[in-house]
């Protein structure tokens, strides 16, 4: 929540056009701190959001490299512990170890990708925000703006003029 915010205005929209219009108005008014709830991921309002992109691809890439190194380390380390020639191949045989290296690349990258989305999206069993409405997972869109008492009236009016079907204050 924005520092110093005393109130929270939540607007509910059933019409996607109205929802977009409200976001545009907020951007025009210079409001930077707000949350948007949507039942579906839509790229149409991506440009209107204060934060874009995600570091998850970088996490996946780094985890993939780590997993690959781990795979080769596992194979080479265990082969050196048991220093026998097996199947006519050298003790440290790179070609067959590529399979393990590849599989651990994928495994580590996948596990870290999921872990990072859990951390970044704060996904854990928890109580839902008071502003959240069950209809946001069905067919309605929501915008939630933390603000002080002076801003509240103006923001509520912006939502009303954009076509919000419901405006809640908390």
């Amino acid at each position: 929540m924005k520092a110093g915010a005393a109130r929270t205005i939540t607007a509910v929209f059933t019409d996607f056009g109205a929802f977009l219009a409200a976001l545009r108005s907020l951007k025009a008014e210079g409001v930077k701190h707000f949350r948007v709830y949507s039942p579906v991921e839509l790229t149409e309002y991506e440009d209107l959001m204060p934060r874009r992109g995600s570091p998850i691809r970088v996490v996946s890439l780094l985890a993939g490299f780590t997993g690959c190194a781990l795979g080769f380390w596992l194979c080479i380390g265990s082969a050196k512990l048991y220093n026998l020639i097996v199947g006519g191949k050298p003790v440290v045989a790179w070609v067959p170890y590529c399979v393990i290296g590849f599989e651990l690349t994928i495994l580590t990258a996948a596990l870290c990708t999921v872990a990072s989305v859990f951390v970044l999206s704060r996904l854990r069993p928890r109580a839902l925000s008071p502003e959240y409405d069950g209809s946001f997972s069905a067919d309605q869109f929501g915008i939630c703006v933390p603000c002080n008492n002076e801003q509240a009236g103006g923001i509520a009016e912006t939502f009303r003029s954009s076509g919000a079907v419901e405006i809640r204050e908390s």
């Binding site: 039942p39 579906v40 393990i100 590849f102 651990l104 999921v114 925000s129 069950g134 069905a138």
Partner: protein, 437 residues
Amino acid sequence: MSTPFRQINQEVLQSLAFPTRRYLGLLGVLACFIGWGAVCFYYQVQTGMGVTGLNLPIGWATYITNFVFWIGIGHAGTLISAILYLFRIEWRRAIYRSAEMMTVFAVMTAGMFPMIHLGRVWVFWWLLPYPNQRHLWPSFKSPLSWDVVAVSTYFTVSVLFLYMGLIPDLAAVRDSTTGRRKWFYGLLALGWQGEHDQWRHYMRAYMCLACLATPLVISVHSVVSWDFAMANMPGWHETIFAPYFVAGAIHSGLAMVITLLIPIRKVLRFERLIQLRHFEAMAIFNILTGMIVFYAYAVEAFMAWYSGDMFERGMLIYRATGPYWPYFWVMNLCNAVVPLLYLFRKIRTSWTWLMVISLLINLGMYLERYVIIVTSMAHDFLPHIWYVYKPTWVEISIVIGAASFFLCAFLTAIRIVPAVAISEMKEPTATPEVMAE
């Protein structure tokens, strides 16, 4: 307002209602088969592997056939959910969730067979790399070790991919239920609220997982094929095996999706969501995979002749004219010729034909694995130990029990979690133009 969204929610969520008595009865029958399979497995463990038809020179037979078959079945789920996602194929939306669930349970079923086949199942964990006081590690030069790593990676990634896709839908179920069900789905939904910040990380992660699952699915059946291709055995030692197995896996997996979804769309009343056009698209895909499989069969025969290798030629002749000839010819017919019937639009848009052809493809693909595995071992380099293998009642019972486990798990799962992806189904209806209507 927003009728398309709410309608999708309602249509999918009604499938999670308590099942009918007939449905529960079917689960009960399947549970009986599972129980019988478990009893037979217990008998095998107590008595020893002599109760199976395995005998020198046949060390691998029905159990390994089932392992390869069920791993292959899983491949269509990953193809539909990951590969077609990357290509932005629209028709995958309605069917990918069921296909993913099929993948997870198929891989679980497949994973049972190497353990059943081991005989001493209580030491199966020796296959896993773990630090121990004996300093004994699996040999990572062996295709069997590759298999353990590849299949366990595949299972883990498939489960993660399925669960990731489910999170927004579990939140939708949570928000539409009350009491203990709300608590249960709330726990699974992990506090998902559909915030923009959640969506932007989620979609990147989903894309990354799809990118990771795509090479994985190709690698897994390649590794499974190398269990055979790395051995110096006529009929196994072939460079074409990896792409041949991958194409075959997708061929059988797509057929299994068709077989499962035809009754399920009726039972769960998904007729509006899963339409004939989805099946038609899968049927067309089956034509392609059938042709690749046909090409692989032809190349196998050609190389046996052109290489001049007498053992390869002998194996081909043995397969076509030896004691396993009915399996060989039914396999060719079902996998290579029958799918071509889908070239006729009337056939691929008929529910009956779709069901019959998909079942025949599955029969053909099962026989393909049986022919590859059993005939090569039955007719190896030493004529004095040539042997004709037949599965015993114990093996058949365990196989039926495992297939029942797959069906039972799948039919249970589709009544617990949404079998159609709610949030993805909303995407095409979410453009401003459509919503304005």
